[in-house]
């Protein structure tokens, strides 16, 4: 088992290395003239050369690469072209907002997706299943940014049920985690808690509706296949009801592919979060990246890419590490 864990860890590190190399290639090798962006549109050759020198862009490529890697290892993401500020601390300020959105969306989506999949599998061909099937098809087909805007317009503006932008209408609670919901509860501030949840409602809904279908479908398929297994008959012969059969026996055997898929879909969630943040003016790294895109701020764009991808790699690593816990068959091999 230890070998399994070690191999996964080493694999993750190797992949990360590939990722930062990839971003280096994208940011230093691909663009035709990064220095031009810095120097500005009306710069002459001398100014461009000066800009290039100040950014270290006239050094040999491999030297730039080493600088890049060692910088990242130290947490130094470089300087933003646009703001001339350090990128690292900027990302750090924006990160908690995104994390809060991502974490809540993921939890709601996983619970809803798997739950609906179970209901669908249990209910077979009855009307509830058709409804679930229809809605899940619709959900995946939505462009998430459009749907977010539709929610914003109709539920937020026209009906006035939810706020249209931002995270909070009042002063934020003292920072412990950066999650307004948790920090508000910790400070005993129920007003702020409620307000934070209220602001989270629409963005989370947009993301969840877009994502849940894949989890639902896979759970349903996996459960239905597992229900054909002989041990299900044994359980029924013991007098077990549907709930015990599904939750006590089938789910733990069927969950494996579902966990893999949840991990992979986290990548979708991350991409979708960028779009949703833009729509709701949510002060997270998605918005930060969007602003960087408007100004062609390469270092910032790449820095966000690395950070988000790092998150994705970590999640997939956790998924790999969870397998033995959930499935005793893997534990024993």
């Amino acid at each position: 088992m230890i070998y399994y864990l070690l191999r996964r860890l080493v694999g993750a590190v190797a992949v990360l290395f590939g990722v930062v190399t990839g971003t280096f290639v994208l940011s230093h090798v691909v663009p035709s003239c990064p220095a031009c962006a810095v120097a500005g549109v009306r710069a002459g050759p001398a100014q461009i050369a000066a800009a290039a020198h100040s950014l270290g862009l006239d050094r040999p490529v491999w030297e730039q690469y080493v600088t890049y890697i060692s910088g990242l290892a130290r947490g130094d993401f470089g300087i933003s072209y646009a703001s001339r500020q350090e990128i690292g601390p900027a990302i750090l300020t924006y990160l908690p907002a995104t994390l809060e959105l991502v974490v809540y969306s993921f939890i709601v989506y996983a619970v809803l997706g798997v739950g609906l999949g179970l209901v669908w599998a249990w209910r077979g061909n009855r009307p509830e299943s058709w409804i679930i099937r229809l809605f899940s098809m619709l959900g995946t087909a939505l462009p998430v940014f459009w749907f977010a805007m539709v929610l914003q317009l109709w539920l937020g503006s026209t009906l006035g049920w939810f706020p249209i932008t931002g995270r909070l209408d009042m002063d934020p609670p003292p920072t412990i985690t950066g999650f307004y919901t948790i920090d508000a509860l910790a400070a005993g501030n129920l007003d702020a808690f409620g307000n934070a949840v209220w602001h989270l409602a629409l963005p989370v809904t947009a993301l969840v509706i877009w994502l849940f279908a894949v989890a639902t479908r896979l759970t349903q398929k996996s459960v239905v296949e597992e229900m054909q297994m002989p041990y299900v008959r044994t359980a029924i012969a013991k007098g077990a009801g549907t709930r015990r059969v599904l939750l006590g026996h089938v789910l733990r055997n069927a969950i494996n592919p579902v966990i893999t898929m949840l991990g992979l879909q986290f990548g979708w969630l991350l991409g979708g979060t960028v779009l949703v943040e833009v729509v709701f003016s949510w002060p997270g790294i998605g918005t930060y990246m969007f602003n960087a895109l408007q100004t062609f701020d390469f270092p910032a764009i790449m820095a966000v890419t690395v950070v988000i991808t790092l998150g994705f790699v970590i999640v997939n690593l956790i998924v790999d590490l969870i397998y033995p816990v959930v499935d005793p068959r893997i534990r024993l091999t």
Binding site: L26, V30, A141
Partner: protein, 283 residues
Amino acid sequence: MAAPALGRVEARRIELGRAMRWWPLLLIAVWVVIIALPGLIAPQNPLTLNLANTLAPPSGSNFFGTDEAGRDLWSRCVWGVRYSLGISIVIVVSAAVIGTLIGGLAGLLRGPIDTLLMRTTDVFLAFPYLILAIAIASAVGPGLTTVVVALTAVWWPGYARMVRGQVLALKELAFVEGARAAGTSTPMILIRHLLPHLLPQLSARVSMDVGYAVLALTGLSFLGLGAQPPTPELGAIIADARSHLLVAWWYTTLPGLFVLAAVLSAMVVNDWLEGRNKGELSR
């Protein structure tokens, strides 16, 4: 014999199922018409400005209303969905071709080439797909070609993995050995002998991915990385609608329906293809 007869509801359902088997083709035909002859359903010019009629709600002359430059939204959407679907198909097919070649060669050749190709694939797959597309598109510079390149780069690894897996399974079969013994070169083995077996799954996946590519494409355009104005592209149109969110509900709401329709059609075709594949397997 006192055996229960097949219920009438069940019998009707089977009949309906048989009749409905071919309607996805009808759907494809409809979309082909829209792409090839947009003028048929959208007679107005999507680029014509009409500053006297900006941000007008839907009416008899403008089904979807007009945008901030007075352009007919319905026409812009029809033209836009042509781009979205057409380009998505190009992206996915290219990705499928590249991925098949790479995955197929990796599977057939094994050894260090396989490892190299698969490690590269792993690195690509380590990125959340939209983030990678954004990174590539921003590095190359915005534009429709960039988006094609970026999304193709994002999509090919999935195909490479899938094809490699299938090739690994297929190469154990006798006909591959026979081809090798006859002196066929590796690429020829892949193309001539293995491809027919790969096609059903590939085409099913391509149809599904076209839907997802439309979503990704419109997403990138929404962020400003895709088609540049005044080209009507659905994502860009929706992005423009943001500034007028509260005053022009049609501008925001209606274009998305086109995207939805395109993606749903892709999913329907995919369902149909997968159904046929399963049917063939069980024969």
